[in-house]
C-alpha cells in the first residue's frame, strides 16, 4: 500500500465518488502554547460557580472569625473570665493573631478549591479532552498552578488585610491592645497568612493530581494540615516530636504567619522554606505521575 495522502489512493471509494476530491479547506490553527493553556485554565476556573463560592467562603471565614475573635478579645462580646493573653487576644497570640483566627479553618475551604481544580476533571471525565488537547500534559498542571495562584493570592491578600484592619478597629473600640500594620512582623504575618492559604490551595492541587479523587485528596489534605499536628503528639516517640511536628505544613507556616516567636518553632525564613517544600515537592511528584500514568 502506498503512503500517499491523495484521495485517489483511497480503497473502497464508491463509484459515485470523484477521485480528485479536494482536501477540505482547513482553518489556520496555531500550536498549543503555554499562554493558551493558561487561558484555557482561567476559562475553566471562572466558568463554574464552585470556584467563586469557595473563594468567597474562604474570605468570609477569615473576616467572620477575625471579627468574632476581635469582638471577644475586646470585651464587646462576653468572654470567660480568664480568657485573653497579655495583650488582649484569646489564646494569647497578640492582636494580630487574634484577628487572623480564621486561618485555622480557612485552609480547609481553600484547599478544597485547589483539589477540585483537578479532581473535578477526573470525576466528570473532562480530563481526557483536556489531555488530548494538550498531549504534553505538564502545561496543564503548570497552568493550573499559575491560574490558582493568580486568583487565590490577590483575593487572600485583600481578605487578610481587610480582616486585619476590621479586627483592629473592633479591638480598639473595646479598648483592647491593638497592632498597627507597621509594627515589627505584623505585615509579614498578615501577608504570610495569605501566602499560606495560597500554598494550601496548591498543595490541594498536587494531592488531587496524585490521588485523582476529591474525597481521597481532601482527606489527605485534612490529615496533613489539621490532624497530624495534633495526632503526632500521641503517635510519635517524645524524642522525635519536636523535630517532626514543627516541620508539618501548618506548624511550619505558623512561624511566618504569627508575629510572636514561639520557642522551639522554626524561624520565619526557615518555616517559609519548609512550607514551600510542602508545596513544591508534592507538585513535582504530581508532575511525574501525570506524565507517566495513563489518563
Amino acid at each position: 500500500m502506498s503512503t500517499t495522502l491523495a484521495p485517489t489512493a483511497t480503497p473502497g471509494a464508491g463509484p459515485g465518488r470523484t477521485s480528485t476530491a479536494p482536501e477540505h479547506a482547513r482553518h489556520a490553527s496555531r500550536a498549543v502554547s503555554a499562554a493558551g493553556v493558561v487561558r484555557s485554565e482561567w476559562i475553566k476556573l471562572r466558568s463554574v460557580r464552585s470556584s467563586t463560592t469557595t473563594l468567597l467562603a474562604t474570605a468570609g471565614v477569615m473576616l467572620l472569625f477575625g471579627a468574632l475573635a476581635a469582638a471577644v478579645g475586646s470585651g464587646l462580646l462576653a468572654t470567660p473570665p480568664d480568657a485573653g493573653g497579655p495583650d488582649g487576644g484569646p489564646g494569647g497570640g497578640g492582636p494580630t493573631a487574634t484577628v487572623l483566627a480564621g486561618s485555622l479553618l480557612a485552609p480547609l475551604v481553600i484547599g478544597v478549591l485547589g483539589v477540585l481544580t483537578i479532581t473535578s476533571e477526573y470525576a466528570t471525565g473532562t480530563i481526557r479532552s483536556t489531555m488530548t488537547f494538550v498531549p504534553g500534559r505538564l502545561p496543564v498542571l503548570g497552568a493550573k498552578v499559575v491560574v490558582l495562584t493568580a486568583v487565590v493570592l490577590p483575593v487572600m491578600v485583600v481578605a487578610t488585610l481587610a480582616t486585619f484592619f476590621l479586627g483592629q478597629l473592633l479591638l480598639g473600640a473595646g479598648d483592647a491592645p491593638t497592632a498597627a500594620i507597621g509594627d515589627p512582623g505584623v505585615l509579614r504575618a498578615v501577608l504570610g497568612t495569605a501566602a499560606y492559604l495560597t500554598g494550601v490551595a496548591l498543595l490541594g492541587l498536587a494531592l488531587g493530581t496524585l490521588l485523582r479523587s476529591t474525597a481521597a485528596a481532601v482527606s489527605a489534605l485534612v490529615a496533613l494540615v489539621f490532624l497530624l499536628p495534633g495526632l503526632g503528639g500521641f503517635l510519635l516517640p517524645a524524642s522525635w516530636q519536636e523535630d517532626v511536628l514543627v516541620h508539618l505544613p501548618s506548624n511550619a507556616a505558623s512561624s511566618f504567619t504569627s508575629v510572636a516567636q514561639v520557642p522551639g518553632a522554626l524561624s520565619p525564613t526557615g518555616g517559609a522554606l519548609v512550607f514551600a517544600a510542602w508545596v513544591v515537592i508534592p507538585l513535582l511528584l504530581a508532575a511525574v505521575a501525570l506524565r507517566r500514568r495513563a489518563v
Binding site: A9, R17, A21, V32, S33, S47, T126, R128, M131, T132
Partner: protein, 314 residues
Amino acid sequence: MIELHGLTKRYGDKTVVDDLTFTVEPGVVTGFLGPNGAGKSTTMRMLVGLEAPDAGRATVNGRPYTEHAAPVHEIGVLLDAGARHPGRSARDHLLALAATHRIPASRVDEVIDVVGLTEVAGQRSGGFSLGMGQRLGIAGALLGDPAAVVLDEPVNGLDPEGIRWIRDLLRGLADEGRTVFVSSHLMSEMALTAEHLVVVGRGRLVADTSVADLVARSATSVRVRSPRAHELRSLLAQRDVVVTTGADGALEVTGLRMEEIGDRAAGAGLAVHELTLQQASLEEAYLELTADAVEYHGSTTRTPTTPAPERTAA
C-alpha cells in the same frame, strides 16, 4: 491518514490490544467493529496519547499524535460523550478547549452551530440530554478542524433522528477528504455508514476489508426445492460441496453456483420448484468473523472468507 503498526497494550497479563496493524484512509468512513471488550476504546485512547502502547506505534499523518504542534488539527476525538462539567455551559466548555490552540471564539460558535446546540450553548450543561451531550462531544472533536475524526460509539443511546444526523455528518466529513474512524459493536449501524471496516476480536485484527468485499465474500448458499430431492442430492455430491436437507425437504447447497445447480438438474431431467440464492447478512458475516477470533485464540485469526488485510511493509 492514521496508521497503526503492531500496536499492543497489556493490562496485567491480559493483552487487550494485540499487535494491531492497519491503516485508516482519508475520504471514506472506516468502521471499527468488535464485540464488547475487543479493545476498540483502548486502541483509540492510544491513538491520541492518553495511554502508552506496550509495543508498536500509531501515527497520524506520519507522526505520533503527541508530537504534532497542533494535535487537534490532526485528530479530533470523541471518547466519552458524557464528559463535561455539569456546572459549565457548553460554550465555556468549548472555549476552554479552544483556548489551548488559540482557536478563535468564532470557530467555537461555528461548531456549536454545526451540531445544533446554539440555543442551549449558554446554559449549564448539567441538564443536557444524552443526545445533546453527544453533540457537545462531537463539537469538541470538530473544534480543531481536524484532518481525521476518531469517534468512539458516537451513536450510543441516540434516537433514530440523532443516528441519522451522525451518519450524514460522518459521510460529509469523509466527502470533504477527512479520515473518519468510528467504533461500534453494531454491524447493522456500520453497514449503513461505513465503506470500509476494521474488525477486531479479543484485541486482534480479524478483518480489514471494504463493506462491499465483505458482502461479496460472505458465505452464500443456494436453496433448492425439488420433488426428486434425493436424486438431486446425489447428483450434486462432490468434493467441496456441502448439501444439507432442511425440515421442509429443501436442499441447502454451498460450494456450487446457482447456475451450475440448475444446469445439472436440467441435464438429468429433474424438476426444480425453487432455486434461491441465500446471502449471509453482514451481521452474520460479522458474527462469523468474531466467533472465529475467539475460536482460534492464540493463532492467526483470519478466516478464508476474509480478504487478507492490506498491510504496509513491516
